[in-house]
Amino acid sequence: MEAFLFYFCGAVMLLGAIGVVIARSAVMGACSLILSFLGSAGLFAALSAPFLAVLQVLVYAGAIMVLFLFVIMMLEGPVMETETSRPKLWTTLMALVPAVIILAAVAIWLPAGRLPGFTSSVPEDFGQPMPVAAKLLGDYVFAFEIISVVMLVAMVGALALARSKRNQPWT
């Protein structure tokens, strides 16, 4: 079951990633990226790390990609069939050769028999809310607080920029 979930989610991720590369329309590319994120969330869920899985969906698929899509949709405008052109031989080679090299490297360096068997396992409480919170608010509390202050500053700045002028009628 675990292996099946791993391969399934991995396949979804890869499918999404390939989609990002080959999609003609940027909107379809963004959708493929969302699919890829959902796959990685599925991987986290399969590792019984619900907190990480949910955050992956909530932050990446749900918030960041919505903004991406928002901007792409605004800029790309209406749906149009883009004209098709055959990829040239050398661009195909440029894409294929590094991919083959990386795949070969992974295949060589990966210890034999490691992938299908899952010999090492993650800690019991991996990705649960409590340990994540303990790390964030315990060990790394200073960095965490600095980041939150930066974000607060960004938010206040955005508010100040967006604030309408005073004494405007009908607001």
């Binding site: 949910v54 909530l58 698929a61 749900g62 919505v66 949709m73 749906v79």
Partner: protein, 427 residues
Amino acid sequence: MLAIVLEATAKIGFMFALIMGLVPVLIWAERKGSAFIQDRTGPNRAGVLGIRLAGLIHPIADVIKLLAKEDVVPAMRHKFLYALAPMLVMIVAMSTYAVIPFGDYIMIGGEKIELIVADLEVGMLFVLAIASLGTYGVALGGWASNSKYTFLGSLRATASMISYEITMGLAIMGLFLIFGTFRLTDIVAGQGDLIWGWLPKWGIIVQPLGFLLFIASVYAETNRTPFDMSERDSEIVAGYHTEYSSLKFALFFMAEYAHMVVAAALIAVLFFGGYQIPWLPRPVLEANAGAMLTGGLIAGGIVLGIIAWAFFRRARREKGWYNDAREREPGFLGSVCVVLALVNLGALGLQPWAISELGASLYATFAQIGAFVIKVAFFSWLFIWVRWTVPSFRYDQVMRLGWQIMLPAGLVNLLVTALWVFAVHQP
């Protein structure tokens, strides 16, 4: 294994039936309620053999119409995304229910079964994550239709959903701090306590500001009035689903109401104690099951009798109004009420006051499920009630309210709650 599958299927089936049963009822309530609010009579024509049930047959007629209609599609659409969008909306609307507890537990064959489909550690975060995915159906549907109106509608919907998601998350953070968990079952269980011995520890009591922020942002998330700028008829036709027809439109339409039900369920679970009946915790319910059941049966019989009397009075008054099958309706409904009342009173013959322990447990479970359903129905009705009461906001007003008022208010609420929880827990 089989038991687990059966159990999960039964729970999913219950939730599915609850939503899919409430959706047509809500569509009916929207029409009939708006009509009564505006001094109109509302739908009252469609009927089967004269039985019209005050217009409840109309949703069925609607469904048949939408199923039989031609699917008109724009020629220059994005084919894949255009077809995907309504499915996405419906999937998102239906999958949130998995983590909402609709009852405490039920004892079957000596086994304790929790009444929730998936009791996740991160339940409420799951709801937020799924809700954030809901934006895609709307955004992609509007874009893929390749029309100005749908595009504007989807942009507006996306903007309001992004803005109010943050407030929605912040509004319930205080609740998480107080109950110390994301798990919805624990939150509901925590709301069964009493403060100072008499005040139920409901979310609305401990987090009043959080409740107001949450209910407002939930209205924005579901795109209902006063935040209905994504489908405002006078400006952008029907918004993101302008170009959809037939069953695809039906999916959008049903998803809107399914979203309403899930929002109502969330309000009930987070702020109104979920399945908890105030001042009647489960042990009390079980101990007094016999007396309450007997009283309930007698009261039900009397109420049904009164309703039957009203129907018969109506039947006499309406004689000769229509001269067709419709005239039989009040009499028929009155007879049904009489039969139900007799069944109620006849059930007294089974000696409900001497109910067994298992029966008492079952009674407590069903009473709590009933309380949950009543709360959900009320908050669903509140959506409709508000829609026909308040005018909607303008686009810039929605944005201003979300970013400049509700977000800071949510932050302040979180800060105050955090300080308070800190003071209570660490003297």
